[in-house]
């Protein structure tokens, strides 16, 4: 079982990386695309098969250390 | 012997880059057939990268001795030079060309990591880094986008590793030429500081002493990178290697460095060596060979990152940031305490023996058993065939008179300042942390960088009385176009220019480290380039009393499109006696007089300075003609005279004339001081070269010719006579050519007069590379 966590910059935060990727895509001919946001993906191996056991711990870890709530949002699934 | 090992066939031997004769020699040494693991071990140890089998006879011609040399070339991982007061510096340059061609970011990053390890392995604290880079053209041409990607990747790789480790990257050079299009050059240099008694040795001394492995676990990274570096770069080899590129971890390196220096201060270490090229193989057999002992290791004790690694893979892996430490028996607990403090993995993997053999076991079974000395020191040595390259006939036949006289020298200067080879490299060095460690006295952007060494530049455990401040100047140079057009003269000029840069900063040379980047030595024409270059380097190093303390050979720098220009990169390190002698290249005060030390033009052949010049390359797309001559006697008098003036406090600025000649050097003296972001300090100059205009003199040759042995200095008005007259007595021509001041650069030569607003010159020079990179 794995926790799959996605951390993205908050919408209000400058995302120069996303902007650069967007520009590059447009230059390469991928016209008409919208804003790009570059985030992080983390995978954590978890023992056992009961996702609920881990849910609050993973949420805590995301909030406390894996993301910075000032600049980032996160979401995750356990599967 | 593991069952899965492939049978040793002639084909397998060939794949290991070993000739049938070399294979016979191996069988002779072992008195039997080698095992698969042994074949791999011989293959890497006898590669050019580790054995210098093609270059050793040439390298022997380098001057390597001076009373200051404490550890000489080839003895250890890096040479060590005495700088007085019980202090010493360790420095070396090394290439990471092929890995950078395959994966520019990691290739360059691990290049930096490798050279930093070479320095702290000697017991020295690494205090600064410099580098020399070559790429294909970044502005125009079919490959420009690819070249920009390589250039950008290499620079950010160097920045990532050096910045995170916390070492200032303080100088460097970057050139762009089509010959490097598929084979960029990445030469990284590091310098460290220590006290004489702190020198550590890479020798496995003391029978029974335990052998420790320190650092991250071994994976399948960069398998046989040393062998990879010792063959031509092809699509196929690049593809094969991409999967196995080493990945650098500067954080780990920082921990390993601090822990090793802390451990060395305890006196518990009998020998230490990093695992660089050829990893565990090289470090074990070389330490045993140096000490005349044997070494025995058990591979199952080696920390491993990937499951199921074979002995062959473990022995040849080039996983980064690993060290081999031979500990004095009974002192093991100190090792454990220090490495635990730094949260670093360690393992005891074997011990020193008295057998003279390198014995490798895997789960108790012997997988390699080789006489260490024969493996490390008795690689075959080849006298390669050499022949003067055919292209040189065309070079010599080329007449500069066939190049049309410049119709607009004022525009030429602007184009030259914007030419990436000459333009400011701030796009590069602003990505490098060059101010960390509180020692950067002259930052990138002057002829030579200068660092201050102080008490905390030393490793821990240094005795008292080490607080004396020292000033070290560094530069790295090589005009490879000159070397291509005349390897002997070009190599001499590489050293002369480096020594001139040091003199401009006020420094006396201490030593040289060189990086010989050449093509395939089996090609007699390419080997001739190498041979001639080494002849020039050796002669010039001897002349400037700058013995070679070590270096690196990188051969096989070629792709299916051809070889690179021969590039013997030369890094010189010098000592500045006193703080007040430190000199920079930019003009200082309005009203100061500008004096040219050296000849305004090559009088025997006024056109000579244009051969191989930036003017010819950048404005006429021609890389031909005979390059300028370098008279070493004359060059040395210039350096001594200039240093003498600096030491008397007569010189306010000194800038050498190199690419782009007098005009570019003058412009740079006006525009190269940057106070802060977006804020240059511009200071104009009024120049009159009319005295040098003769009927036969072409203006372009006068302005942009690259005649050697010239420096532009500025002095207080009152000192002009003193400087000019004394220079003449010392045999150096000196003539006042202008005055500092005003808001523009003006240049008069007979009837012709050029005027340039400084802001425009600065913009072209400062921003051209950034503009090219934004294409």
């Amino acid at each position: 079982m794995k926790a799959k966590i996605i951390v993205t910059p908050k919408k209000a935060v400058l995302d120069p990386q996303g902007k650069t990727v967007q520009n590059a895509l447009e230059q390469m001919g991928y016209k008409g695309i919208g804003a790009v946001h570059v985030g992080k993906y983390l995978e954590i191996d978890l023992p056992g098969a009961d996702a609920e056991v881990w849910r609050s711990q993973i949420d805590g870890a995301c909030h406390k250390i894996l993301s910075n709530p000032v600049i980032e949002d996160y979401r995750f699934v356990i599967e | 012997m593991p069952m899965s090992d492939p049978a040793i066939t002639p084909e397998l031997v060939r794949q290991h880059n070993l000739t049938p004769e070399e294979f016979d020699k191996i069988k002779g040494i072992l008195a039997r057939e080698p095992s698969y693991t042994e074949l791999g071990i011989f293959s890497v140890m006898w590669s050019e990268h580790c054995s210098y089998k093609n270059t050793r006879p040439l390298l022997k011609t380098f001057p390597t001795k001076s009373p200051r040399i404490l550890v000489g070339a080839g003895e250890e991982n890096a040479g060590i030079v005495d700088i007085g007061d019980g202090l010493a510096i360790a420095f070396k340059i090394e290439s990471h060309n092929h890995p950078s061609a395959v994966e520019p970011f990691q290739g360059a990053a691990t290049g930096v990591g490798g050279i930093i390890r070479d320095i702290f392995t000697m017991g020295a604290r690494p205090v600064c880094a410099i580098n020399s880079l070559r790429f294909g053209p970044i502005e125009a041409g079919a490959g420009a986008a690819h070249n920009r990607r390589l250039f950008g990747g290499v620079v950010s790789g160097i920045a990532h590793y050096g910045n995170c480790f916390g070492i200032p990257t303080i100088a460097g050079e970057v050139y762009f030429d089509p010959s490097y299009e598929d084979n960029p050059l990445v030469n990284a240099f590091c310098l460290g500081v220590l006290r004489h008694e702190q020198i550590a040795r890479g020798a496995a001394k003391g029978e029974g002493n335990p052998v420790f492995y320190v650092g991250p676990a071994t994976g399948r990274d960069g398998l046989a990178g040393a062998a990879f570096a010792s063959r031509d770069l092809t699509e196929e080899s690049a593809g094969q290697q991409r999967g196995a590129v080493q990945v650098g971890d500067p954080f780990m390196e920082k921990l390993v460095c601090e822990a090793c220096l802390e451990l060395l201060a305890t006196d518990a270490v009998a020998g230490i060596q990093d695992m660089g090229a050829a990893g565990l193989t090289c470090s074990t057999c070389e330490t045993a060979a140096r000490a005349g002992t044997g070494i025995e290791i058990e591979l199952s004790l080696v920390p491993q990152r990937a499951p199921g690694m074979t002995p062959y893979e473990i022995m040849l892996s080039e996983s980064q940031e690993r060290m081999l430490i031979i500990v004095r028996a009974g002192r093991e607990d100190e090792v454990k305490r220090i490495f635990d403090k730094w949260d670093l993995p360690w393992a005891r993997i074997g011990q020193v023996t008295d057998t003279g053999r390198m014995v490798v076991k895997h789960n108790g079974a012997v997988v390699a058993d080789i006489p260490a000395r024969k493996l490390a020191d008795e690689a075959p040595v080849y006298q390669r065939e050499s022949r003067e390259p055919a292209y040189l006939q065309a070079v010599r036949a080329f007449s500069l008179a066939s190049v049309p006289v410049s119709t607009d020298p004022a525009a030429d200067l602007k184009r030259l300042l914007a030419w990436p080879g000459i333009a400011s490299k701030n796009w590069v060095y602003r990505q490098y942390d060059h101010t960390v460690r509180d020692g950067s006295v002259v930052c990138p952007g002057s002829d030579a960088a200068v660092i201050r060494l102080k008490a905390d530049s030393l490793p821990p455990g240094s005795a008292n009385g080490s607080a004396v401040e020292k000033y070290i100047a560094l530069t790295v140079d090589c005009n490879a176009a000159y070397v291509y057009l005349d390897p002997y003269e070009g190599a001499k000029i590489a050293v002369a220019e480096a020594a001139r840069n040091l003199a401009c900063a006020g420094a006396v040379p201490l030593g040289t480290t060189d990086n010989l980047n050449f093509g395939n030595p089996h090609n007699p024409e390419l080997f001739w380039q190498l041979k001639e270059s080494v002849r020039g380097l050796a002669e010039a190093c001897r002349f400037f009393d700058a013995p070679v303390t070590g270096g690196n050979c990188s051969l096989y720098n070629q792709s299916p499109n051809g070889p690179i220009d021969p590039t013997p990169t030369v890094a010189l390190v010098g000592l500045i006696e006193k703080r007040e002698h430190i000199t920079t290249q930019w003009f200082k005060d309005e009203g100061d007089a500008i004096i040219l030390l050296g000849d305004v033009i090559d009088e025997q052949d006024p056109m000579r300075g244009l051969g191989g010049s930036a003017w010819l390359q950048g404005l006429h797309q021609l890389k031909t003609g005979q390059p300028p001559r370098c008279d070493l006697e004359k060059e040395r008098s210039l350096h001594n005279t200039l240093r003498g003036f600096i030491q008397c406090g007569l010189i306010k600025s000194a800038h050498d004339c190199s690419e782009g000649g007098l005009a570019v050097a003058l412009a740079e003296s006006c525009i190269s001081q940057q106070i802060a972001r977006e804020t240059p300090r511009l200071i104009g100059a009024r120049i009159d070269l009319s005295f040098a205009v003769a009927e036969a003199t072409r203006l372009d040759a006068l302005l942009f010719g690259e005649t050697q042995s010239r420096v532009i200095v500025s002095v207080a008005p009152l000192d002009v006579v003193k400087v000019v007259e004394r220079a003449k007595i010392l045999g150096v021509s000196a003539v006042k050519i202008g005055i500092v001041g005003g808001g523009e650069l003006t240049l008069k030569a007979g009837k012709w007069e050029g005027k340039w607003p400084l802001a425009e010159l600065h913009d072209l020079w400062w921003n051209s590379i950034a503009r090219a990179m934004a294409l």
């Binding site: 910059p9 600049i71 | 920045a159 008490a455 940057q674």
Partner: protein
């Protein structure tokens, strides 16, 4: 007066900070290892630059949980002065001792160059001796120095006079060109509500000696030392 310079495993400006404290200012100071949990006998704390724990997750993210940072928190609550430089600023923001966060430079590149700084307020232990109108010239060296906070936080910082330094040109004008990393409102350094905890991205410890080209950074350390002297005298 006793300074502590914190040492995380990959701090790399730790020696520079201690060098300035001891050899330039002539004060006493010592390193404090990140695994220690006490600041007993310490009068001021400097959190130096570097990459603390490699900073692979986010700059300063792991450092904030180290044992020594708990002690720093307690030290700050009691009014002890704490100065975070570069990575130290990032750690203080991650630890919640200062508001906002430092994100990737807008150029996406590491930047090492000198910048000009306008001192916005002299109401802090770190700025009180900087002459009014003096433009500081200090080096920066960072890849993630773009100061970010949401609008209410920025308003609050301004209202409370807690912005200490802003990137400016040599005349003190806040221009886009003078901003090396895209920081909101050109912010280079701020302090907390109690004004005893400050962070800045530029490196004053690299500009405290003439030989390094600027002594402007010294003003910050000298200001802090002077303020401490007053504080210690009052306590005695």
């Amino acid at each position: 007066m006793n300074f502590a310079v914190l040492q995380f495993p990959a701090s790399n400006c730790d020696q520079d900070a201690l060098h300035v404290v001891q050899n330039v200012l002539g004060l006493s100071g010592r390193f404090v290892w990140h695994k220690e949990n006490s600041l007993a006998g310490i009068d001021a704390v400097i959190i130096p630059g570097g990459f603390s724990y490699g900073d692979y997750l986010r700059t300063g993210a792991i450092a904030r949980f180290s044992p020594i940072m708990q002690a720093v928190r307690e030290f700050a609550v009691k009014g002890g002065p704490v100065l975070g430089i570069c990575n130290g600023f990032q750690i203080l923001c991650e630890a919640g001792l200062l508001p906002g966060a430092l994100i990737r430079n807008r150029s996406l590149q590491f930047r090492c160059e000198h910048v000009f700084l306008k001192t916005v307020t002299r109401q802090s232990p770190f700025t009180h001796t900087i002459p009014a109108g003096k433009i500081l010239r200090l080096p920066i060296a960072h890849g993630e120095g773009c100061y970010f906070a949401d609008d209410p936080t920025l308003e609050q910082l301004e209202k409370d006079d807690r912005i200490l330094w802003q990137y400016a040109d040599d005349n003190g004008k806040l221009t886009e060109a003078a901003n090396p990393n895209g920081s909101l409102r050109n912010i280079a350094g701020i302090c907390n509500e109690a004004r005893n905890v400050a962070g800045l991205m530029p490196h004053p410890e690299r500009a405290s000696e003439l030989i390094l080209g600027s002594t402007d950074g010294r003003l910050i350390f000298e200001g802090l030392a002077g303020w401490l002297e007053g504080r210690l005298a009052k306590a005695a």
